[in-house]
Amino acid sequence: VKLVSRPYLLLIALLGVIVPRRLRADWREEWAAELQHRERLLADWDRLDRAHRWELLRRSSGAFCDALWLQRQRWEDDVVQDVRFGVRLLLKSPVFTTIAIVTLALGIGINTAIFSVVNALLLRPLGGVTDPERLVRISRQYADRTSPSDSSYPDYLDYRDQTSTMSAVAFRVPTAFHVSGAGHSDRVDGELISSNYFEALGVRAAQGRLILPSDDRDGAADEVAVLSFRLWQRQFGAQPSAIGATIKLDGRSFAVIGVADERFSGATIGTPRDIWIPVLTLRRTDPAIAVRLDRRRASWVEMFGRLKPGATLEQARSDLSAIAVRLERAFPDTNAHARVRVDPGLGRDVEVEQELRRFAYVPFSAASLVLLIACANVAALLLARAASRAREIGMRFALGAGRIRVIRQLLTEGGVLALAGVIAGLLVGRWLTGWLASLLPDRYLFLTFNVDFGLDWRVFAFTLAVATATGLVFAVVPALKASRPDLVSALKASASPRGSGVGHGTRRILVITQVALSLVLLIAAGLCVQTLRNAAAIDTGYNVDHVLTARLDLAKQNYNESRGRAFQRQLIERLQAMPGIDVAAFAVTLPLNDGRWENPVRRAGDSTRIQTFENIVSTRYFDVMEVPLVVGRRFSDIDDEHAPHVAILNQTLARMMWPNQHPVGKSLTFKGQPVQVVGVVRDIKGRNLFERPGPMLYLPISQYYEPAVVIHVRASMSTPALAQIVQREVQTLDRDLPLYNIKMLDEHLRATLTPQRLLAYVISAFGVLALVLATVGLYGLVSYIVTEHTPEIGIRVALGARKAQIVALFMSQGLGMIFLGVGIGLAAASALTRLMKGVLFGVSPLDPFTLMAVALLLIGSSTLACYVPARRAARTDPNVALQYE
């Protein structure tokens, strides 16, 4: 009644139909209020003249605009509805959903983790600096060398003052400090820096201030230090009072003036530095080293610079090259052939980078294969599901659902699935990243793995896109098929027992692909495991078991030579006297995972120089290492500083120096001094386990004093107990002397096998995973075929087929796919594993044992995956099966 008497109410009642249902009541009420108000303002409807009535109706057209505006919300409502429906459907088939989500999560997680770790090591820019991509390394490049060299301080000043393309040129000298605290010292990595270092990097201070050019005065600098955030927390409990406090570095006092930004830990990625002091303080604290500041020949400062805004790398190269040429002309004795080299990417170690790149592509490729397998698996699952949903979709079309609407519904389902997979993938990725990081040793080559292994978001975005695309594409395939529907057959539940499945052929292809890909991965894994086993079995030439090693540096503790010698002698005597310790010795370098000392030697009276590695050792070094003497004698106490200088060669050096001659008693020249050869020891593996031993010269520490040494102790007791004894004995002699890098010798060996071990673990894990995925995929497909053929089985059984026949029927389907997959996999593997040659050791990429073993493993497990559903088929009760018809 009211509606009729008030035509505008009728109008909004009608218009309201297009308003999304959720908002409709509110909308109508609001507009009713609006229009009634208008009416009241004008008068009563009955008493209105025509113009006013028209006006009121026109006003209700505003309601139409409003209703149109709300259309957008209808779309959103549909999405909500789709999502709700999608989630409900997924929950209704938990097995499918779980498998799909877990598969996606593994694919996404593994890729994210692998790329995150490798990117953290290779691609991550320096933390805590401004615009790291504008920072460049500047080094000397001599024409006759392949690797770049450090620069000199006078050269630095020239580059700094003459450059037109760099807004700053600065440098650093990595160095370690002994930081003395209450009753003990710590060894802390730091950098001596140019006073514009922090400005050039664009680092901010967390507390106090950083070192500034104004800290340089008259060519010297005050004894000031900047701490890292970490050290500030550790040493000063993050107290602001640390600013202005004194810190003792190598026995000298420095005033703490500031704390660097929390994210900043020096200009080397992976090796955090905790203390910075201006290099010019050396003039006051260490005049012996300070003389380097004036020498153009010295090569010790690592220069870097920041490109001016707008300046390109190329411009910087030609600008700095011009300066190098000027220097070459002005200082021909020191700067001849010294070009300048400008590289982007400050903070990365070239050598480590090369080594990582050599290995990184294997896990990358493996992770991509896992992602492919995962996608194939999900696609197969979605297709299987689509087949079982053909009827439902047909029903929807029959009931008048639009094609777009149904496709959207299916896309939403795929999206929901992908989203769940992504969330789970993030968790997996995070966990895996932690696992990978835990496999890394704390040091490999010159890199300490102190890197923040955060998830890499770019990679995550990429895998997300791939996984989502898979989800969406294969979710929508059934919709496309069903949208050209043969409604009648789709609605007849089991109209055709064969081939009604959507994408049946595609599923077979997907399963075969999975089998093939997982075979490739498993073969790669087998090869990596073999490599690790072979590498671990390499004879190093010495006995790595039960030897504890630890470093100490007497120079940092202000020992002079005579005090240092006394300390070293006493320490060895004390350690040797300890019950349980067999033998103790010093050396300046460890055989593996350490820096190398290299120098030329000559035969006496011969000018041919032979480049050799060297190690300076104490008398019982060869006993500790159990390196057998081939001929002559070992070092002994008679080889003291006053005795004639002596040396021991390894077999390789002996052969190089005196081929086919007896070397003992011969004389050689080392650093301009005559040295007599007293013995030859067996070759041992030096820095690289995989290469033949190089020439090695051993010199006695009694004649070639070195303050920084590695203690080697052989003892048959537990590592912690031994470490404690060594530490205690050192502290008895000097309670302030820090002992660092305390590690068993076999840990060093293990660290050098890091790439091999990582590959073996990671690729094996991927291989097993791929195997599981492929098996599940196969199982799913055969189960599906069995379900589809239930009536047929029923008839066969009813007609007297034996169980074995039924099993064979379905097994033949599965085995066909398996053998095809294995065949393709073997072909692919023989092509792909050849690319792994560079990372394999002692095993051929086509190792027949690995190929056979892996193929058998795969055939075995996948046969089982077929057998289980086939067996179920054989147990089909014909009565039940035929009731479906």
């Binding site: 509110d26 009420e29 209020a33 609006e34 505003g62 309601a63 605009c65 409003d66 505006w69 709300l70």
Partner: protein, 108 residues
């Protein structure tokens, strides 16, 4: 939500709400804009969280024998964005919108 730009119409409507004109036709009347503009603008402002709305109690509307009203209220974010808009549309600040003492006047 993040979009801090208001059209002059939206700004005028927000300004009206800020000044105590708190439901549909009240705002239409005071701004002089057509209802087809005002209502979608109100929804947009609400969606951007510059406004919130609340339906009045059934009881109140029944007592006054009229349809229920939907009362709009400006939020803190709304005030911020309005202050910015006032700077841009300088007329807005000076234009005489009579401030309403009682934010919910009863129309009889």
């Amino acid at each position: 939500m993040g979009n801090r730009f208001l059209t002059s119409a939206s700004a005028a409507i927000l300004n009206a709400v800020a000044n105590g004109y708190s439901f549909g036709f009240d705002i239409v009347d005071v701004t002089g804009m057509p209802s087809g503009t005002v209502y979608p603008a109100l929804r947009r402002l609400e969606e951007s969280r510059y406004l919130t709305s609340k339906w009045e109690k059934e009881r109140v509307a029944y007592a006054e024998a009229r349809p229920r009203r939907r009362y709009y209220e400006i939020t803190r974010a709304g005030r911020d964005v309005l202050a910015e808009a006032v700077k841009r549309y300088r007329l807005l600040g000076t234009s005489a919108i009579p401030s309403v003492r009682d934010p919910r006047p009863s129309h009889t």
